[in-house]
């Protein structure tokens, strides 16, 4: 990651309006993603090959496919987290509305402020309180008055359906929460900075079924405000939460992953146009 010249463009629209009209801004924030000819490498290894697809705003798009098919890698290219891995390299284009995220004048740090991410294992900062965890991203963006910060923290925790459970212990460390609560805390932390897109990398795979249900409900609520991309190994989950589903596959271990098809979730799970998709979702994989 080399901090290139600062590109105010992706960052400014995310925050300039949100400071003054938070409610109004949320309605117009979600953006569409267009991926074209995207290839990602780990050193010499080609992880995903020539992927082109679109992600609609204010909808949930699920990435499914067998392990190693590159769905997490693709997700990480969308907020330029892939290149943080040693040897990580990307070719191709990712457009956020009309802006190429891999353009020469784009600052990857600014991209990540615009596109939030939730990880497989809940990772609230263990040294920070619940409040500070939610405020962490905001504090990176500069000065907020205490009162302003209080408001955003409360709104974000409410948005993550966590407020009622933690409002009496905002000063306690986030690591004291249950796994499901920690994951919702991470979601609150991600949405506090008003991102335009929310990426979720198997957000429920470390959680029990009840916590999973809570997160899935939350995803259903958040999609009215954000563009959401979720990677999941759980096909029932993809069917439950997503509007569109992309199926990825690889021809053999060590070969690059490819996009097989992307379509409305209903169609993928009832009548997919490619045989491999049907084989995978019906369990006849391989």
């Amino acid at each position: 990651m080399s901090p290139g010249p600062a590109a105010p463009t992706p960052r400014a629209p995310a925050h300039a309006p949100s400071r003054t009209h938070p409610e109004k801004a949320t309605d117009t924030m979600a953006k569409r993603i267009d991926v074209s000819g995207l290839t990602a490498f780990y050193g010499g290894h080609r992880a995903i090959d020539d992927i082109s697809m679109s992600v609609e705003p204010r909808s949930v798009t699920a990435f499914i496919g067998p392990s190693g098919c590159g769905k997490s890698t693709l997700l990480r290219t969308l907020n330029r987290m892939h290149e943080v891995t040693p040897g990580g390299r990307v070719e191709g284009k990712v457009m956020l509305d009309h802006e190429d995220l891999y353009g020469t004048s784009v600052d990857p740090v600014a991209v990540r402020r615009t596109i939030g991410m939730v990880f497989q294992r809940p990772n609230p900062f263990p040294t920070m309180s619940i409040y500070d965890n939610v405020a962490a991203g905001l504090r990176l963006n500069g000065d907020f008055r205490k009162k302003e910060l209080d408001g955003i923290v409360e709104k974000s925790l409410k948005g993550a359906n966590l407020w009622n459970e933690v409002k009496d212990r905002l000063g306690k460390p986030g690591s004291g929460l249950s796994g499901g609560q920690q994951q919702r805390l991470c979601i609150a932390r991600a949405i506090a900075v008003q991102p335009q897109v929310l990426l979720m990398d198997e957000p429920c795979s470390a959680l029990d079924p009840i916590s999973t249900l809570a997160i899935e409900d939350l995803i259903g609520e958040l999609k009215s405000r954000f563009t959401i991309v979720i990677v999941t190994h759980n096909m029932q989950q993809a069917a439950r939460v997503s509007d569109r589903t992309a199926f990825f596959n690889l021809s053999a271990v060590g070969r690059p992953g490819k996009l097989i098809e992307i379509d409305d979730t209903e169609r993928i799970f009832s009548n997919p146009s490619v045989q491999a998709t049907e084989d995978y979702i019906s369990g006849r994989f391989g």
């Binding site: 960052r11 990540r112 990772n123 040294t127 990176l140 963006n141 460390p173 991600a190």
Partner: protein, 337 residues
């Protein structure tokens, strides 16, 4: 050691009726191997305690002989004259010199060491980080007499410019005032700089280990929020490594407090107390013992041992404080995450 008795127990087929083959499940409750190993490890632990107690007892006994005959206040007197009649000696100069040189060393070494450790763990490309870490390791392996020779023959003449500069611009603080500008810098200030170099490797190495163990998941969390590299380090590496930095610093402090040969080689000791850190003079506990032990008589040695006892206690307190700080921060240390 007869191990054959131990082997049937773990490999025996579990569900055998008790009467068919009693040897499969019956055996001695205590195996000889276990017994021997337990004895060895317990013995090692006890030996360590005995040695510590013996050192403390020896120091206390010999020190008490000297202290009972001392006519000055041992803890506050600024003279060292055990040969006098009556004998009068105190650790004032030594305590001041030890404290000041250690503080100078820590002020210089800790930030630099943390910086080097962060560079190795989070900034440098791998092909630079590995050799650099190796060089730092080598620095730790250099014997302290070599540092002393280097300090006396290289550092002292080359610090001349710096000491003159400090005298000119910071002389008003008294601390950096030189009574005799241009005299060789065989002072407590030079000792502090030399000690900083000597404790740099141990602080760097411990910090580097701790920083490398900082969980990647929190660094990714910070990155995904749009943190720059420095912000990632501030949010997820430094908080995780805080107790490590403290314990590393304490280890360095322990070495600085007790360092003998290098200090004795560089410092020209003086028996007159001075606030002027750039002037020759002052001394440290360890340096004082090394410099005076050979020519001291029986009583003089007891007096030196009394000062050694103080150093021993200080070192114990430093380590205790480090452990207390680390233990107090446990809830936030991230160790449970």
């Amino acid at each position: 050691m007869d191990l054959s008795h131990t082997s049937p127990a773990p490999t025996a087929p579990p569900p055998t009726p008790p009467d068919s083959d009693p040897s499969a499940v019956k055996g001695r409750a205590v195996h000889p191997g276990d017994k021997i190993f337990r004895g060895l490890s317990r013995g090692s632990g006890i030996t360590l305690l005995v040695i510590m107690a013996a050192i403390a007892a020896f120091l206390t006994y010999r020190a008490s002989i000297a202290l009972s005959a001392n006519s000055a206040n041992f803890l506050t007197a600024f003279e060292w004259n055990p040969q006098g009649d009556p004998p009068a000696f105190g650790i004032g100069i030594l305590a001041f010199g030890t404290a000041v040189s250690s503080v100078i060393a820590m002020v210089i070494a800790v930030p630099v060491a943390v910086g080097i450790a962060l560079f190795i763990s989070h900034y440098a490309p791998r092909r630079i980080a590995a050799p650099l870490a190796y060089v730092i390791d080598l620095l730790a392996a250099v014997p302290s007499i070599i540092y002393g020779l280097w300090g006396a023959l290289f550092l002292v003449p080359y610090l001349d410019g710096l000491t003159r500069w400090l005298d000119r611009f910071l002389g008003w603080t008294t601390l950096f005032e030189m009574s005799n500008p241009g005299s060789p810098a065989r002072s407590i200030f030079t000792v502090g700089i030399l000690l900083a170099i000597m404790i740099l490797p141990i602080i760097t190495n411990v910090c580097r280990e701790v920083f490398l163990q900082a969980p990647k998941m929190y660094e990714e969390a910070a990155l995904a929020l749009g943190a720059t590299r420095w912000e990632v380090i501030r949010m997820s590496v430094l908080p995780f490594g805080r107790s490590g930095i403290i314990s590393a610093s304490m280890l360095g402090l322990g070495r600085a407090l007790g360092e003998t040969m290098a200090v004795a080689t560089v410092l020209s000791p003086g028996s007159v107390f001075t606030w002027h850190l750039l002037d020759p003079g002052s001394g440290t506990f360890a340096q004082n013992i090394a410099a005076k032990f050979n020519e001291a008589d029986e009583f003089g040695r007891d007096a030196l041992i009394a000062s050694g006892l103080v150093l021993f206690v200080i070192t114990l307190l430093v380590n205790g404080a480090a452990r207390y700080i680390i233990a107090r921060r446990k809830e936030y240390s991230g160790a449970d995450a």
